[in-house]
């Protein structure tokens, strides 16, 4: 059998007969497995895959493998398994079929192989067409300078009406209480007033307007009333005890006060 019959020109060197060298160089490396090899052989039959002669194809494949082995080429197990299977198929195809009813007929097996070959051939065509398509980054392009979506961090403030009201009442109450405490401190007790008056009046033997003394203690105008009230009460008490004398010309005019001297017994 010649190389031409095998249809292996693409893989054969026709550089002229060199007796010392094998005429045929089997480029088994160029095939991607036994199906690929079978397809290459089938292509050389130059017939439609639908009309392929599986028997002829098996013959060609087996002859190819024989040749490769003769050339001591190492063949991957896949090729040898296919060779064994094709040898079996060939024997089945050559023998008269005994209708056993069990297992696929030789024709079925041949058809299955033909279908596999067709499927591989078809997917190769499909792969070719897929990669012929315009590919992104090679043939078609996305925007070269995409504009980034800026992320704006927008704070979403959360507060409930309850938060608002508790804040308000907390604030107002705190302030109200603070004021009360301040007032407490500002309130003159009677005892405080009396102690202060005793100290003040102790130095005065002349009539004096009490307001002038007391104002010195008044830090803020709001304390005027409490200071005045407490001191008036204390003065009345001291007057009753006979320690001081009080003098007021008419209602709402300043009250004058002086120490009651032992010698000065007369009341105004």
């Amino acid at each position: 059998m010649s190389a031409t019959e095998w249809g292996l020109e693409p893989f054969a060197s026709d550089a002229g007969p060199e007796p010392d060298e094998p005429r045929l160089i089997v480029d088994v490396e160029g095939f991607e497995g036994p199906l690929d090899l079978l397809l290459a052989l089938a292509r050389e039959q130059k017939v439609d895959l639908a009309k392929i002669s599986i028997l002829a194809l098996a013959d060609q494949y087996l002859a190819f493998i024989e040749q490769a082995r003769w050339l001591r080429l190492e063949l991957a197990a896949d090729y040898l398994v296919m060779a064994a299977w094709l040898a079996y198929l060939k024997s089945r195809l050559l023998l008269p079929e005994v209708p056993s009813g069990e297992g696929p007929s030789a024709a079925d097996l041949a058809n299955a192989l033909a279908l596999r070959l067709k499927r591989l051939a078809a997917i190769r065509v499909a792969a070719g067409r897929l990669f012929e398509r315009a590919q992104l980054g090679r043939d078609v392009f996305a925007r070269g300078a995409p504009e980034p979506i800026a992320e704006i961090k927008r704070p979403q403030w959360s507060a409930t009406l309850y938060d608002l009201l508790t804040a308000y009442t907390r604030e107002r109450q705190r302030h109200a209480l603070a004021r009360v405490r301040l007032t407490k401190r500002a309130v003159w007790s009677l005892a405080e007033a009396r102690a202060a008056l005793e100290r003040l009046i102790g130095a005065a033997s002349e009539w004096m307007a009490i307001d002038q003394f007391l104002i010195a203690y008044v830090v803020e105008p709001s304390m005027r009333a409490t200071v005045f009230a407490s001191s008036l009460a204390a003065m009345l008490e001291m007057a009753r005890e006979g320690q001081i004398e009080l003098n007021q010309h008419t209602a709402f005019t300043p009250i004058y006060v002086r120490k009651r001297a032992q010698a000065q017994a007369a009341s105004p």
Binding site: A145, S158, A167, Q173, T183
Partner: protein, 235 residues
Amino acid sequence: MASLAEIRMDIDEVADAALERRPEELRQLEALLFAASEPLDEKVLASRLAGGVDVRNLLRRLQSEYAARGVNLVRIGNKWTFRTANDLSWLLTREAIQPRKLSRAAMETLAIIAYHQPVTRAEIEEIRGVSAAKGTLDVLLETGWIRPRGRRKAPGRPLTYGTNEAFLSHFGLEKLSDLPGLDELQGAGLIEGSLPAGFSVPMPSDDPALREDEEPLEESDLDLGLVPQPAGRED
């Protein structure tokens, strides 16, 4: 004679027809400018197109074609690039919502503004008994719930603050006077214990009409960004 109706083509068909008559170079410029990772200058563009083409002229035409679109052809120095239209920049931002809680001071200040408006910063400080950090008012302005509403007719002409509609809507109030008064606050147990005589809670009002002791904000207040822009407030 053809009637007007017969003559009148669908305006879009005419537009399509115009597109079909476009010089091929415009398509090429479109593709080049779109795919480029940076603006391209006229020389580079010219070198990529067939010779003898008036690139400047084509670019001007492309620019006017895109002027009304969401993408514009803009010239930067001597270079050209497609950019999304300026007025659509808001589309290209994603708002990441960041939930935040108001500080206690901010909450109290807000409450005082709500009840006592119109109120100046000094008045807030007087009520709170502490000097308000300027940051607190800034934060409140950022919430979009308060607004400077005028200036007090007083020395220094301080800004007066009040709440706005966003405030009502956030707190689910129909009107500001729905804020509870003293009795209701006490009834709700929010105010407990005895209160000093004269303690009162004002009847709040956010009537936008200026009070007698207020005068309107000026242009310069708006410029200073003291007043949120109407659009921003809508957000």
